[in-house]
Amino acid sequence: MKKLINGPDDVVREALEGVEMAHGDRVRVHYDPYYVVRADAPVQGKVGIVSGGGSGHEPMHGGFVGPGMLDAACPGEVFTSPTPDQMLEATKAVNGGAGVLHIVKNYTGDVMNFDMAADLGKGEGIEVEAVVTNDDVAVEDSLYTAGRRGVGITVIAEKICGAAAEAGQPLAEVADICRRVNDQGRSMGMALTPCITPGSGSPSFELGDDEMEIGIGIHGEPGRFREPLGPASQVVERLASAVVEDLPYQSGDQVLAFVNGMGGTPLIELYIVYRELHRFLDGRGITIARNLIGNYITSLEMAGCSITLLKLDDELVRLWDAPVNTPALRWGA
């Protein structure tokens, strides 16, 4: 294992210190317990938005803290959910009197810890709503599993809900928008390589040089099936057809297309994926009205990508286009 770290036990704290040094104009970092918060929090009268999850998915979520997106993010250990006391402290820090929305990815640990945090927050008199994202179509059998995982749509939901909150919409409306984004969004990912957590030092699964894993999650967990390595066009065909047929997205739909890198795939390849996706959707009469291409919800150094589609309407387009000013996502500001 080769990693640019000082020691496996110091990874999360030292990365947070780097974030604070780099972006101290926009975010503050609390270390006991860990959370990243907008420098101007709490914003009075604005709904606060808190997300969180294991570390190792950077820039999600800490990179999305700032005006127009998240008010706070709680980082856990690498690939381990943060704890309720972190979430409670973050919730208190961003509560400007209009309530707090928790955006939670559907992973067993995240859901249970945020559940406990919401109970604790309500116990302190803060209005808390939670929306669980579950957009990963790779999980076929939701009945006999922990359900579909929350992946790429989480980034989109954080941006769109952040805009709604910034515009002064009340908690119930921001939560409704979050549910709508989740309902109209679908994702699927694939890997060319596994990833290596700093703590374990060994690959999360074995994958031959001539194989790829289709339908992976974001913690190096194996996916739906593996097959011989194919060209980008075949990978996109696999991912996009599963995504499109699930909602289903139909001819005439306007979508936001999000091509996400898993951390170890260069942008030049992500743009080839985007080209293939554009052609695929064109062939089905689906129009890409907005796009996002880059490494936003990663799995350490895993090579691979995921595709997320969100069916758009005028309100969602307006919220997507609204200004955002975070370390990892910035426009109009």
């Binding site: 317990p33 294991g54 856990g76 250990e77 690939f79 381990t80 959910s81 943060p82 704890t83 309720p84 006391d85 992973y107 067993t108 640990g109 249970m112 810890n113 559940d115 406990m116 999980v139 059998d141 006999y144 599993t145 922990a146 995982r149 957590t197 703590g199 374990s200 060994s202 999360s204 999650g217 913690h219 190096g220 967990e221 194996p222």
Partner: protein
């Protein structure tokens, strides 16, 4: 069972988590995300530290403190689940300085109910519930803590052929067959430590 014995239970369980850290992580790497041993070891160290700052005497207060320490230091799924187990056991034994086997069974029952409510797991889902449930049954059928630990061990081994239906292992579907559940394994170690610390052979020593 005295409050000192309950402390001894926690210390022994923390030792077991340190000793079996690698084994638990390997089990978790096979079907989960490879952090169960690391997380439980970190959490139980914190729990023991927390207990050292607490006055001894109230079994419920000690167990609650352990639960709070786990919830705030473990993360993942194990934090809320083990945290809930200990906090519910703590509520069931609040203010008590001694407990008999029936009282322990009542506390364990409360803990198991809490775990099932928090994690929504049923017996047979390949989780820690599969070790807790037979242990409680053994106690309810008049068994001692050693019998409960044996039943938990059987329950742990019985998770091997199961297909996981909860947690991250559930995403593997049939590929989770043939692996022992890491949560059931740490729960077996919890009950084995209980038999050692709270069992009748220790009752006159402390």
């Amino acid at each position: 069972m005295t409050s000192s014995q309950f402390r001894d239970w926690i210390v022994r369980f923390a030792d077991e988590m340190a000793t079996h850290r690698t084994e638990l992580t390997q089990l978790d790497t096979a079907i989960g995300d490879g952090d169960h041993g690391t997380n439980m070891d970190r959490g139980m160290r914190k729990a023991v530290e927390r207990l050292e700052t607490l006055e001894n005497g109230d079994i419920g207060a000690s167990l609650k403190a352990v639960g709070m320490a786990l919830v705030s230091s473990v993360g993942g799924a194990a934090g809320p689940l083990y945290g809930t187990l200990f906090m519910q056991m703590g509520s069931a034994t609040a203010g008590k300085s001694e407990l008999d086997v029936a009282g322990f069974a009542d506390a364990l029952d409360a803990g198991l109910q809490g775990v099932r409510a928090r994690g929504k797991a049923e017996p047979g889902d390949k989780t820690m519930v599969d070790a807790l449930t037979p242990a409680l049954e053994a106690l309810r059928n008049g068994g001692d803590l050693a019998a409960a630990a044996d039943a938990a061990e059987q329950g742990m081994k019985a998770t091997i052929p199961l297909v996981a239906r909860k947690g991250r292992a559930s995403y593997l579907g049939p590929r989770s067959e043939g692996h022992q559940d890491p949560g059931a394994t740490s729960t077996y170690l919890l009950l084995r430590s209980a038999a050692e610390a709270l069992g009748p052979q220790q009752s006159n020593e402390r």
